[in-house]
Symmetry: C2
């Protein structure tokens, strides 16, 4: 069934080049939600979009921009990998609500309200106290709802996430995280969050980043698929997908940029530690995008039927984008 599947990866942040695009294609990936910025503000975000336009020009045989949900189907039909832009922080709008519509016009389809820290919109999962969605945040969510930009709370705190689910008139996502019950980590999510997310029509993308996994880099494929099965029991089969959090070919300096941005003079180690500060070892069964078929096989072996596997591997994301990216009826 590998050939027929629509495979959607709900998040990657790689050091994009032709090699990685070839790997995505080889792995049968139809579309990847590509993080284009972490802490970049408006001008720097446009730089990143400019770099992507060069990728699109130079690799038109392999990749294409996703400007609406149907472009995912076009990518599948033409054998290319769709690239959907997303931001892991709200820095691309700075302090200006009018930038939401402008960034959406530039095809920024998904935006996290926070990245670990407190932002102008909400609280990140690494702060000691989460005071919830801010005044600006409430208006930003409303505006994101209006223009069809998806709210992503992957790196947000519990209260902010529950607030965002309640405030948003459209379902939101947690594009790359796992259940806290599977592995205790600040980035993973409580059953309360996951259940509330599912009840509101939202979607969770399962992360393959070792820091989010039980036994880290030694987590087995069957453990991972057991987690998916347990989460399907909690959230339902329609509200789960994949969001690998793959960071391919990135030097340590990028991990440090993700963790420290421009906000910290001290070195912050994020999910790592001083003695374990580098990128984690990859999983043996998921080293890069060529290993997506292993996930499919793992899910089949775990007892999911073909319809369920298709949903988890991409159909749920596709349905979500069909609904979530259209501008709100006025």
């Amino acid at each position: 069934m590998h050939q027929d599947l629509i495979v959607i990866d709900g998040l990657q942040y790689s050091n994009w080049d032709r090699n990685i695009f070839l790997q995505l294609k080889e792995g049968g990936v139809t579309m990847v939600h590509a993080t284009i910025v972490y802490h970049e503000q408006i001008r720097e975000t446009l730089l990143r979009i400019g770099e992507w336009n060069t990728h699109f020009e130079q690799n038109a045989d392999l990749i294409m921009p996703v400007r609406c949900a149907d472009d995912i189907r076009i990518a599948k039909a033409t054998g290319r990998v769709g690239i959907m832009f997303g931001a892991q922080n709200c820095s691309p709008i700075e302090d200006d609500i009018s930038m939401i519509a402008i960034m959406r016009e530039l095809n920024l389809m998904i935006m996290q309200l926070t990245y670990n820290n407190q932002s102008l919109l909400a609280c990140g999962c690494y702060e000691a106290v989460d005071s919830g969605v801010t005044r600006f945040g409430r208006q930003a969510i409303k505006e994101m709802n209006r223009v069809g930009m998806i709210v992503d709370m992957s790196h947000s705190g519990e209260r902010s996430t529950l607030d965002a689910i309640e405030i948003s008139e459209r379902p939101i996502v947690i594009s790359h995280a796992n259940p806290l019950s599977f592995h205790e980590a600040k980035r993973n999510k409580s059953d309360l969050v996951l259940k509330t997310l599912a009840e509101s029509g939202g979607l969770l993308g399962f992360s393959l980043y070792p820091f989010h996994l039980n036994n880290g880099s030694n987590c087995s494929l069957s453990e991972f698929c057991d987690m998916i099965a347990n989460t399907a029991d909690l959230m339902g089969i329609d509200n789960i997908g994949i969001g690998t959090d793959l960071c391919q070919q990135q030097p340590l300096s990028i991990l440090e940029w993700m963790r420290n941005g421009r906000w910290s003079k001290l070195k912050d180690y994020g999910e790592g530690s001083k003695s374990n500060s580098d990128w984690p070892e990859p999983l043996t069964w998921f080293k890069d995008s060529r290993d997506f078929p292993n996930l499919t096989t793992g899910l089949i072996d775990r007892g999911f039927n073909h319809t369920e596997v298709a949903k988890i591997m991409g159909q749920n994301w596709l349905r979500f984008f069909d609904e979530g990216l259209a501008p709100q009826a006025s």
Copy 2:
């Protein structure tokens, strides 16, 4: 024939508000090329676009954004005024060629390579020496050609303008200026420029800004229409249109911003002088956008037939946009 005409104003820079939108509609204007920036760089250009998005939301009954040439026809059919974004300087791309595609994606359809002064792309009409289109300018024109952003040389020097006509693979415009033979002004254009422009398929928009007119604010409608007739003889009936250069409800501070930007410590008076530094008195027969029917009448009285009047009042611009805004076939 007023009702049936497609009326296109090739340039205005007004202090936009509902009152001005109502005047445009009352004057039968189908579309206006609205200058959104003079010296604004990237971040400030996005601010201006954000302000326009608010105008579009709050005045959806009167105006609509022009995202392609067919939107002009939709504006006509739905009784609204189409707004086409343009820049009177290349400041919105700063020093970055990748910003051309990004600004085009945000519907910046027309960009002047210079505004009076030397720019990174070419030379303005107020410099002592015009060294022509620069190295960056050559590449920028090629990129503008590729994405379908129209090159406008209204405020450029003679050599730069002739260079741009030659370098550009697609016809360019002088959106708002008059023949030098009609009135001696640095902003007006030589017969050589106008003839070369026409031969390359380019378009001239006649300006109604008094500093560009013989007898200034006292220029009569028949003098103006005589000029159009003489220019039609020089350039052909298909290569001329209107570009009023109307600046409605703008305070003196805006005129000073246009003239001085951030580049001058001394006060530059542009087309004015120290003793005549304010906005010029408007023409009695063209005070604001409600007076477009006077132009139509003036052209008919001058002996143009209905087809010719329709071309001058908008059909030539429409044909130009049909061809000029489509992305170049790759």
